[in-house]
């Protein structure tokens, strides 16, 4: 995560219903101020795009040993992604870790989110603090803590210890994301299910869970994104196992093969397409609802 906290905030934004605005507002009233802010913002965004463009462009570089100087354009790196088998192995490990950690953290986090919104229980404050703290603790502390615990216990570190760590830092983010959805759920819908003689299990599986799904999916996406890009915590708990970010870190001191740019670029394009499709379909849905209601 290092980087990534809340990557899917955009997706998350769709899970909580927007506040209904009363009356008409006059927004963005032109003016010189708006123009200055607009130009400033576009400039800032342009600078933020530089490393992305750089990474994608250099995936097409005909690099020999080090991918620092631009030589010439080639598709070879894209066609020979797995020539350095370590890149692909690390990528595969990242996918495995991400999928397993996401499933486990999403299940655990969703259960907690439902409990927090729907039920009263003892030690509520303590549990809230326990859920907040992992997000407020620097990753290097989380990582070295878990790492030193594994060392103290004499545990062999590897892929499974990475998964253990990733589930841990995902849970809080899942709780925060799903909680908003549970809170906005109209209890009348579940009451209607009960009135129609649905058992509690049927109400849960056929009414509650489908209604929570957008929130759960957003949380799962967020968790996968955090897990996939995490390096700081992974580094302390991985032993000899390599995820994609760890491969890049290890390779950084002697030159990154262009194949890692290929993988990063492909993941980027995939993720962006996914987000755009989600946005556009959400936009259509909103418009349809607005028209109907």
């Amino acid at each position: 995560m290092s980087s990534t906290q809340e990557a899917a905030a955009l997706a998350t934004a769709e899970t909580a219903p927007r506040p209904r605005r009363r009356g008409r507002e006059r927004a963005g009233r032109g003016g010189a101020g708006s123009w200055i802010i607009g130009v400033y913002s576009l400039l800032a965004l342009a600078i933020m795009m530089i490393p992305i463009v750089y990474t994608i462009v250099f995936s097409f570089n005909d690099a020999r040993r080090t991918n620092i100087v631009w030589r010439s354009f080639t598709f070879d790196n894209w066609l020979s992604v797995c020539d350095d088998p370590r890149v692909c192995e690390a990528f595969g490990n990242s996918i495995v870790v991400g999928v397993v950690a996401t499933i486990a953290a999403t299940v655990l986090g969703t259960m907690i989110a439902i409990a927090i919104v729907r039920y009263t229980f003892r030690m509520r404050t303590l549990i809230t603090v326990l859920l907040f703290l992992p997000m407020a603790t620097p990753e290097v502390v989380l990582g070295s803590g878990l790492g030193s615990q594994f060392v103290n216990m004499g545990v062999e570190r590897g892929l499974w210890t990475i998964i253990v760590a990733h589930i841990m830092f995902c849970i809080s983010f899942v709780v925060v994301t799903v909680r908003a959805r549970v809170a906005s759920l109209d209890p009348a819908l579940e009451e209607a299910g009960r009135d129609l003689y649905a058992s509690p299990a049927q109400v849960f599986w056929r009414v509650t869970l489908p209604l929570l799904m957008p929130g759960i999916l957003a949380a799962a996406l967020l968790c996968f994104a955090l897990s996939f890009d995490d390096f700081i915590i992974t580094n302390f708990v991985s032993g000899n196992a390599e995820t994609f970010p760890k491969f890049v870190y290890v390779a950084a001191s002697r030159g990154i093969p262009p194949q890692s740019n290929v993988i990063a670029s492909a993941v980027f394009v995939f993720a962006i397409v996914l987000v755009i499709v989600a946005q556009v379909s959400a936009g259509f849905r909103r418009r349809r609802i607005a028209r109907a209601g």
Binding site: A9, A13, S41, E139, V140, S144, M168, A183, I232
Partner: protein, 304 residues
């Protein structure tokens, strides 16, 4: 949404069912909470215990036994006091720059682009786009751009800002730049989330009451978006102060830019576990104190 929830008031619960007391709550909570106790609380305890360990009898590197060697902490302050100050300085500067860049950007997306939902979505995607490309590769891209023969240094040398022998990589400038760049979306998104909900009729009302642009901003817009500023500041400052990628010598830093995270990482992998743990504990306390003070002062009712 996730950001609003981080440090601002929670979602509107007025329409929700009243909370019930039931054994189901325990079934729902137990697995996740026990997991966090085992993988978050226990490691913190382990970190504290490790930080007091002393070298084992046979003096083999990496062999330590449980003890109460508080001198480990003395060593932390003597050897790394300056590094802690640097860590704090870098993180504060990066957070302030991120705020200065993010606020207008968030205002642009949340308020100016509000009448154009399609553009709003597209620009928002640009803000989170860096998340989708590897954190380490992004940082390495800046390293190449700031390289001695790279475009930025050449340009600055031609203009005369930098002398022919000057460089950028490995200086405080590149480290703070990297920290700012890497964590800026954490600042922009929560501020955007606050501004997107800002009811513009308040701003109009202020205008009707003869408030100038300055008063409208300082006394209406900023206070109403403060929850976003608070969560953005935390979400930027916390990861920045624990980061060791940007400051590492293989990335944007050098031996002159070492931060607390680098010390924790380096000592850990040289098997100096006790001192590494002591640095981590000091870092955590040093971060939690200002964070708690800040959250308390900005008056967030509900953390989660």
């Amino acid at each position: 949404m996730a950001f609003g929830a981080f440090a601002s008031s929670g979602p509107d619960l007025s329409g929700a069912a009243p909370r019930r007391r039931s054994y189901i709550a325990i079934i729902l909570l137990a697995p996740g909470i026990l997991y966090l106790v085992a993988t978050f609380v226990a490691p913190l305890v382990s970190l504290v215990l490790t930080s007091f360990k002393e070298p084992g009898g046979d003096f083999e590197i990496g062999e330590y036994v449980y003890a109460f060697r508080w001198e480990n902490y003395l060593e932390v302050f003597e050897r790394f006091g300056e590094i802690f100050l640097r860590t704090f300085g870098y993180s504060v500067i990066a957070t302030v720059i991120a705020l200065v860049v993010s606020y207008p950007l968030a205002y642009f997306i949340g308020v100016i682009l509000r009448p154009f939902p399609l553009w709003q979505s597209l620009v928002l995607i640009l803000v989170i786009a860096p998340f989708f490309i590897s954190f380490l590769l992004r940082t390495l891209a800046w390293k190449a751009i700031f390289a001695d023969e790279g475009p930025v240094v050449s340009f600055l040398q031609t203009v005369g800002v930098l002398g022919p022998e000057d460089y950028l990589n490995g200086t405080a400038f590149t480290v703070v730049f990297g920290l700012t760049y890497n964590f800026i979306p954490f600042m922009t998104l929560p501020i955007y989330a606050s501004l997107e909900r800002l009811d513009l009729r308040y701003v109009e009302a202020a205008g009707d009451l003869y408030a100038g642009p300055g008063a409208r901003f300082w006394r209406v817009i900023l206070p109403l978006s403060l929850p976003g500023v608070v969560s953005g500041t935390l979400l930027t400052f916390i990861p920045a102060s624990g980061d060791y990628i940007n400051a590492s010598k293989d990335f944007l830093g050098s031996t002159n830019t070492v931060m607390a995270g680098n010390v924790i990482n380096d000592l850990f992998f040289q098997s100096f576990y006790p001192v590494s743990a002591a640095v981590a504990i000091v870092l955590m306390i040093a971060i939690l104190i200002p964070v708690i003070a800040y959250v308390a002062k900005s008056g967030s009712e509900e953390l989660l």
